[in-house]
Symmetry: C2
Subunit: 98 residues, 2 copies
């Protein structure tokens, strides 16, 4: 039981993929109940969705008081199927308790 809790406490990053957007909003809110700050990460086509998740949380929880913290962008080199290296953009948005 303790080990399980330890693991979930360390999961301070939410990776945005292809699930419905509210699934990521829920995951982020659950993590924010335990942690002072959570990072929402995405790359490529999912970047817009990461911004949506952060915005939904900050809009809908104005009274509880979660706000957007640091935002970082970057790029990662990915090898595509034809063997060439492509750069894909990344974003990391911090959501934190005020």
């Amino acid at each position: 039981m303790t080990t399980e809790q330890d693991v979930s406490e360390k999961r301070d990053t939410i990776f945005i993929g292809k699930k419905p957007i509210m699934a990521y909003v829920t995951s982020t809110l659950i993590q924010l109940a335990n942690l002072p700050s959570v990072r929402i990460k995405a790359r490529g086509m999912s970047i817009g969705r990461a911004v949506d998740v952060a915005q939904i949380i900050s809009r809908k929880t104005e009274n509880v008081g979660y706000t957007i913290g640091q935002i970082q962008i970057g790029s990662e080199a990915l090898e595509s199927q034809d063997g060439r290296t492509r750069n894909v953009s990344t974003i990391e948005i911090e959501v934190k308790r005020t």
Copy 2:
């Protein structure tokens, strides 16, 4: 001539739309030749492309030294065709001379 220059000098914001990505990279670089900092703005589906533009510029101009500055996210209320109000996420990325 002076008036035209004044107008172009004030255009410190590049709005990302549906043109090929390198068109926005070029526009941003032209503005950065005249201004100390330029803001790349996008909303909705174009947010990922705004990050791409900023990343291409910071990666390809390492020696000249343009870097990513402040990044802000937000949302705007848009009225859709059926009359309902929808929120659309926005991003604003500052690119500046080092």
